[in-house]
């Protein structure tokens, strides 16, 4: 089940970064980045 959840987190991370990249408002870009950081560290199994 861990692998499945890592895959889900990775997919959400990808969608988050995609939204960040296409977003025009820098504030919303920052919000996306705040979400991306924990997802990234969990996908890499660092935290």
């Amino acid at each position: 089940m861990t692998v499945v959840y890592i895959a889900i987190a990775a997919a959400l991370l990808a969608l988050t970064v995609w939204n960040l990249w296409t977003e025009r408002d820098w504030r919303k870009q920052c919000t996306a980045a705040m979400v991306a950081v924990p997802l990234l560290l969990r996908v890499l199994m660092i935290k």
């Binding site: 089940m1 499945v4 959840y5 889900i8 987190a9 959400l12 969608l15 988050t16 995609w18 939204n19 977003e23 504030r27 919303k28 920052c30 919000t31 996306a32 705040m34 979400v35 950081v37 924990p38 997802l39 560290l41 969990r42 935290k47």
Partner: protein, 422 residues
């Protein structure tokens, strides 16, 4: 004034400055407040702490994000329109019976998952169009499903705030079913009528404009509802047979979303997923910001200042302190309120029936989901019914919230007699 009280003021000030002067979103204002307190308390930028704080909500983020993806898929497939059409055709003429039914349906996902967001975003989205067709204004419909969200989260069999409060004093989650049912179901039925009073009218299905929904149903048949039924089935099985079906909510929602891609109208799944995450990001960002905020409060001692302050009131005012501070702390997080304040309050309520007192405290804590700036339940409800400013939904929640607090306090006050009744 103590160092911690000044830091608390600094955090509130930085948050207000971020929100109002700089017009930053709530997520960034929370981070700004956290960074300000980190610097002022001599912790530097505290990057490790800020990032660590966000991890308190990683699992919640996955639940909310996947729930949004599922909802988007169900909507695109046409199932929502079809369900509304059928419900109105069958029950539209009898709103007095339909309203409590819709309330219980909207509560259901919260009851078995313990998550108000899951309730509002799934079943809430299913019942909201029917409510509006019955004549409820958008804001009232939003308030209806927001209340269903928190009552569902508190109602048995799963109530995470009660588990958190119980866990803090080593009380197992046993014997909570009856008190929680008594605490929530009467309120649910009363609120469903009260919110519909004077607004809900019998609807003539022919004139309701549900034709397109019913048309979709004629075209795709019952398989249109398969994704929703699948998710409900997996939630129930996950509760009934966790060893075999304990997939967790994120997997459940994604299975439902995949089914929705095949069940009805065709749509671009990738674009829908991206849009769903785009809609979810402000809330996910708030969760990350809240995580940073709580970690900073704990690290700098502001949390202790707040908790000891709440406990410092004379015993006669203890109920007032519960009624005020728990929903207020819920502005940061309702689970946080349960853990940080619920446990000390329960310890202070010596001599009461502990299970009933903990149940009632969990209801007060759950109200935190209405409290800005996070206001998860109200925010999602506004999103579901299409109200731009969620404060319009909040306005409709004021009186019900007051009733909820008084009801919960009455349970604490009369806990021993209620125990006898049960």
């Amino acid at each position: 004034m103590s160092h911690e009280s000044l830091l608390f003021l600094l955090m509130l000030g930085a948050f207000a400055a971020g929100s109002f002067a700089l017009r930053l979103p709530v997520s960034l204002s929370m981070m700004l407040a956290s960074v300000a307190a980190m610097l002022a308390s001599g912790n530097g930028l505290g990057v490790r702490h800020l990032v660590e704080g966000t991890f308190g909500y990683v699992d919640t983020m996955l639940v909310i994000a996947t729930a949004m993806v599922f909802m988007r898929a169900v909507q695109e497939s046409g199932a929502l329109d079809a369900i509304t059409g059928i419900v109105i055709r069958r029950f539209g003429r009898r709103p007095a019976a339909l309203l409590p039914m819709l309330m219980l349906v909207a509560m259901f996902p919260g009851m078995i998952t313990g998550s108000s967001s899951a309730s509002v975003l799934t079943a809430g989205a299913v019942v909201a169009p029917a409510l509006m067709l019955l004549g409820l204004p958008r804001e009232t419909a939003g308030a209806f499903i927001a209340i269903a969200g928190i009552l569902g989260m508190v109602a048995p069999p799963v109530n995470i705030p009660a588990m958190i409060i119980g866990g803090g004093i080593d009380m197992p989650f046993v014997g909570f079913g009856a008190p929680l049912a008594l605490l929530t179901f009467p309120l649910a039925i009363a609120f469903s009528w009260a919110l519909g009073a004077g607004k809900a009218r019998p609807v003539d299905p022919a004139a309701a404009g549900t034709g397109p929904g019913e048309e979709l149903y004629r075209r795709y048949g019952p398989r249109l509802f398969l994704p929703v039924l699948l998710v409900v089935a997996l939630m129930v099985l996950g509760k009934a047979a966790p060893s075999a079906f304990g997939l967790g909510l994120p997997v459940t929602f994604l299975i439902g979303a995949a089914a929705a891609c095949l069940a009805g109208r065709r749509f671009n799944a990738l674009a829908a997923a991206k849009a769903a995450i785009g809609d979810a990001l402000p809330v996910l960002g708030i969760l990350a910001g809240v995580g940073m905020f709580i970690q900073t409060m704990t690290l700098t001692g502001v949390r202790g200042f707040v908790v000891v302050g709440a406990l410092s009131v004379p015993p006669a005012l203890l109920f007032a302190a519960i009624a005020l501070t728990m929903p207020l702390f819920g502005a940061v997080s309702s689970f946080g309120a349960a853990s940080v304040l619920g446990v000390p309050f329960l310890l202070a309520l010596l001599g009461r029936d502990q299970v009933i007192a903990a149940s009632a405290l969990s209801l007060v804590a759950a109200l935190g989901d209405f409290m800005p700036p996070t206001a998860l339940s109200a925010m999602f409800a506004a999103q579901v019914v299409g109200v731009e400013r969620y404060s319009l939904v909040l306005r409709k929640l004021l009186v019900p919230s007051l009733v909820v607090v008084l009801w919960a306090l009455a349970f604490i006050g009369f806990s021993t007699s209620i125990r006898g009744f049960l």
